[in-house]
């Protein structure tokens, strides 16, 4: 087609569970540095798409291409190594480790020092400094000694973002990053993500229920319904799309 290839290309992805078609021929492209939202009503296939994109299971057909390299069918730990970070819908951290250790272990994995069985974890000063740097980015540096399990929900979500950021990904995929947060926490988190994306040229792909956030920060939006893409465009285009209005958004975007 001649169009420049995006950082992340989803091409004709199909995924079925039993008789249920969760994804049917999903195709779209995410450009470098773009902030991209995936929206759709419950059961539209957002989580399935996320799981296919991050290697939890392979698509039945179609492919996912990241940085020109096919990543569908590759196990998650290899996909992560190619420069993708991921956070989960349900807070997914290491609860009975300290905030510091949560990020430190991510950095060990990133620098491949996880393989060192005899060195002392404490004797990695560069990793310690980097850990605090990452925690500072999400404003958790002061809480680094606390056990992750006692953090507030919002702090835990941000810790998870910190864990994902530790591997310096080029693409960060966030499954409902503000789920369960207060309005104030949500706004803070959104600002944080926007800032990081701008500073580091990080590409963001996220799903979200809160339409204020979706239309507030995303540059492009793809809308899924019953496993199929029904619209793909800028927030303005999506707002104007009659099919989207009818199918999903209803009154919400007229506000």
């Amino acid at each position: 087609m001649g169009a420049p290839m995006g950082l992340l290309e989803i091409r004709g992805v199909v995924k079925s569970f039993g008789g249920l078609r969760a994804l049917q021929d999903v195709t779209f492209s995410v450009g470098q540095g773009e902030i991209r939202a995936i929206i759709g009503p419950n059961g539209a296939g957002k989580s399935t798409l996320f799981n296919v994109m991050t290697g939890l299971f392979p698509p039945d057909s179609g492919e996912v291409v990241f940085g020109g390299e096919r990543i569908s069918g590759v196990p998650p730990h290899r996909i992560i190594r190619k420069g993708i970070g991921r956070s989960f819908q349900i807070t997914n951290i290491f609860p009975r480790m300290t905030v510091f250790e949560n990020v430190q272990v991510a950095l060990f994995a990133h620098h491949r020092s996880s393989r060192d069985p005899l060195g002392m974890a404490r004797r990695y000063p560069s990793v310690a400094a980097e850990t605090l740097d990452v925690l500072r980015q999400v404003d958790l540096a002061e809480k680094h000694e606390l056990s992750a399990s006692i953090l507030s929900h919002g702090d835990q979500k941000r810790l998870e973002i910190a864990i994902s950021l530790a591997s310096r990904p080029r693409l960060l995929m966030l499954d409902e990053p503000t789920a369960g947060m207060s309005r104030f926490e949500s706004r803070e988190t959104v600002e944080l993500l926007r800032g990081i994306s701008r500073e580091q040229g990080l590409t963001l792909v996220f799903t979200e229920h809160d339409m204020d956030i979706v239309f507030g920060i995303s540059e492009k939006i793809v809308v899924l319904q019953q496993g199929a893409v029904i619209a793909d465009g800028t927030p303005a285009e999506i707002k104007a799309n009659p099919q989207v209005r009818k199918a999903y958004l209803g009154e919400e975007i007229q506000a």
Partner: protein
């Protein structure tokens, strides 16, 4: 082979296989039902079976005649159900929110307690239960002589299966049970009274076990350890069939019943290995059993987040190196002033500590509950035993080879086991352990079979250092264990160890850090196996004789118990647990015949009251107490990020 086509012979064998399958089904159907609903693999299920048999024994002492027998047959399971209600409401209910292993251990504590209680009440000897004359004789079918009682069993078991089917598929409560079994959260959301349901199902499962026991009692004999024998067989049945699946239990029972019968006829010397081999093969091909589906396991992380109140916090400070030297210094000096028996006892403690600390690299650090460590212990012990008796190799060289052999064994077993998780992982390691046991037990030409290896020569170390005496053997073991434990400690506080902890906490998240979780779990498994093998090698040198008993699954349970007693989230915990365990073992055996009862009660208390173990408890207290004496804490502990 001609005998095989003889009709009378075939009839007798088919009925014998069916009888065996019938007993297995009665017991394992209850086991699988309880697992399906409560998500607990009940170790004490075999003990409930044993109680059923003892109850009918006690009842038939007073109730005679056919009517009395029938009443006893029906009353015994009801008595067992009553015991189960007490267990569920009094004990199990308190720990549903805890991690799987605590539930498993509570039921294991019950095994120990019920075993010794039965011994106290009914005596240790074999009891036989008289059958009424009407069903005591034999009949001839197709020329084969079959006990009438066998026919009774073979007819009754399918009737019970039919009744079960009716209750589960045709009654409202049954539908609720099935719904809960397939999706607990959904059932919870529907407003089903979970605690009543749990009590009901647990009691009903126990009743099935009790009925199995009451029916089997007159056909077999009863003695206190009959429960532990039957439970392992039932584990094999339900794991092959698929945990939580009733039809799986039925098919599994028929398979195992047939295999045991055919095995005895065709390969009498390998009968035991067959069932474990079948289990291993099934689990390799179908990890969740023939009829099982992957469990809907709630992410551990999510579970932990919801249970902050019960949280067992890993210790976040470590002991200063200087303070850490204190036990070592004591270990160096004390034996000089101790008698020969105590030197031997201390050597035992050292070896047990190594086994427990190595095991905890799996449980406490990586979150893997292995129930097959005895296989690696045995591999190490037999390496030393065989090398020392069959070659002229030195004791040190044979000891160094022990962990290598154990490592290879662990590498192979681990390759298959790490594909599973949770209870399935534990069961597969158990099956492999029993398989290794069965091979060594039956391989007379090479391993000496059940005779074991006697008179293992202990040869001087290079430089002519003799380690023949108890004291020199102690120091030799101390050196080996100190080096091994220090390596294990380093591993735990290394980046590799931190990664293992991350896997324990949340293996999905760890995978998304770019960590190849399975590879790391396998590596931890192999390392733990190697050090367990070293412990086994030391044991062979210390005892100078070994028997296959050291590979039995009860040996695998020992490091689990030690670790829980001492504390799973501290490095020293398992070693402290080993001290407690060995001391209790040595003294209680001299002091009372019922040391299992005492151990069971201690374990029960630990699980219910101190899930952090003894060391966890001391640490908690120490934090409070040392707050008032800051200088002690500053002197003894350094704060560290690594727990």
């Amino acid at each position: 082979m001609a005998a095989f086509f003889d009709v009378s012979f075939l009839t007798v064998q088919v009925l014998s296989a069916l009888r065996q399958a019938a007993f297995l089904f009665l017991i394992s159907s209850g086991l699988t039902l309880v697992f399906g609903v409560l998500n607990i693999l009940n170790f004490a299920h075999g003990s409930l079976y044993m109680l059923g048999a003892y109850f009918i024994y006690a009842l038939t002492l007073h109730l005679t005649g056919p009517a009395g027998f029938v009443i006893a047959l029906l009353a015994a399971p009801l008595g067992v159900a009553l015991v189960a209600v007490v267990i569920e409401m009094g004990l199990l209910r308190r720990i549903y929110i805890q991690e799987e292993i605590y539930q498993l251990l509570l039921t294991y504590a019950l095994v120990l307690i019920i075993h010794d209680m039965a011994k106290i009440v009914f005596g240790p000897e074999f009891k036989s239960i008289p059958k009424p004359r009407a069903i005591g004789g034999a009949v001839t079918i197709f020329g084969g002589t079959v006990p009438v009682y066998t026919l009774v069993v073979v007819v009754l078991a399918p009737l019970v299966a039919l009744l079960l089917w009716y209750l589960l598929y045709r009654t409202r409560t049954g539908k609720i049970v099935r719904a809960t079994s397939s999706d607990r959260e959904m059932a919870d959301a529907l407003g089903i009274n979970m605690s009543a349901l749990f009590t009901l199902v647990f009691a009903f499962g126990a009743m099935l076990a009790g009925f199995g026991g009451a029916l089997a009692g007159p056909a077999r004999t009863v003695f206190p350890s009959v429960g532990t024998e039957v439970i392992i067989e039932c584990f094999v049945v339900v794991v092959i069939g698929g945990l939580g699946n009733l039809w799986g239990a039925l098919v599994g029972s028929l398979l195992i019943g047939t295999l045991e019968t055919v095995g005895i006829i065709v390969f009498p010397e390998f009968e035991m290995s067959f069932i474990y081999l079948l289990m291993v093969v099934v689990l390799i091909l179908r990890p969740w059993g023939l009829f099982g589906r992957p469990l809907k396991v709630k992410a551990l992380a999510e579970k932990n987040l919801g249970m902050e109140a019960q949280e067992i916090s890993p210790v976040h400070f470590s002991v200063r190196p200087l303070v850490r030297m204190i036990p070592l210094v004591l270990l160096l000096i004390v034996p000089l002033f101790a008698g020969r028996y105590y030197q031997y006892l201390l050597t035992q403690i050292l070896i047990a500590s190594l086994m427990a600390v190595a095991f905890n690299l799996l449980l406490g650090t990586t979150g893997l509950l292995s129930f097959g460590q005895a296989a690696f212990y045995g591999a190490g012990a037999y390496t030393v035993g065989l090398l020392a008796t069959k070659t002229g190799i030195g004791s040190l060289s044979s000891l160094l080879l022990a962990p290598l052999v154990a490592m290879v064994v662990a590498g192979i077993i681990g390759f298959f086991c790490i594909r599973l998780s949770g209870v399935h992982f534990a069961m597969l390691t158990l099956a492999f352990g029993q398989l290794v046991f069965a091979i060594i037990y039956k391989w007379y030409n090479f391993t000496g079979g059940d005779n074991g290896i006697q008179g293992i020569p202990v040869r001087p170390l290079p430089g002519g250092i003799d380690i023949g005496s108890n004291l020199s053997m102690y120091y030799f073991a101390l050196a080996a264990v100190a080096v091994a434990v220090e390596i294990l400690r380093r591993i735990r506080s290394s980046p590799f160890g931190a990664t293992l902890k991350a896997i324990r906490e949340n293996n999905q998240r760890a995978e998304y850090l770019g960590v190849n979780v399975k590879l790391y779990q396998w590596t931890a498994f192999v390392i733990a196996g190697a050090f367990t093998g070293l412990a086994g090698g030391l044991y062979a040198l210390m005892e100078k004789s070994i028997s296959p008993d050291i590979i039995l699954w009860t040996k695998s349970a020992e490091p689990v118990l030690m670790t829980i007693i001492g504390g799973i989230y501290s490095f020293a915990g398992p070693a402290v647990g080993a001290v407690v365990f060995i001391v209790l073992n040595s003294y209680l055996v001299a002091w009372t015949e019922n040391w299992a009862l005492v151990l069971g009660l201690i374990l029960l208390a630990m699980v219910l009251m101190l899930p952090g173990g003894a060391v966890g408890f001391v640490n908690e207290k120490a934090r409070g107490a040392f707050g008032k004496m800051g200088w002690v804490r500053r002197w003894a502990f350094s704060k560290s990020g690594a727990s």
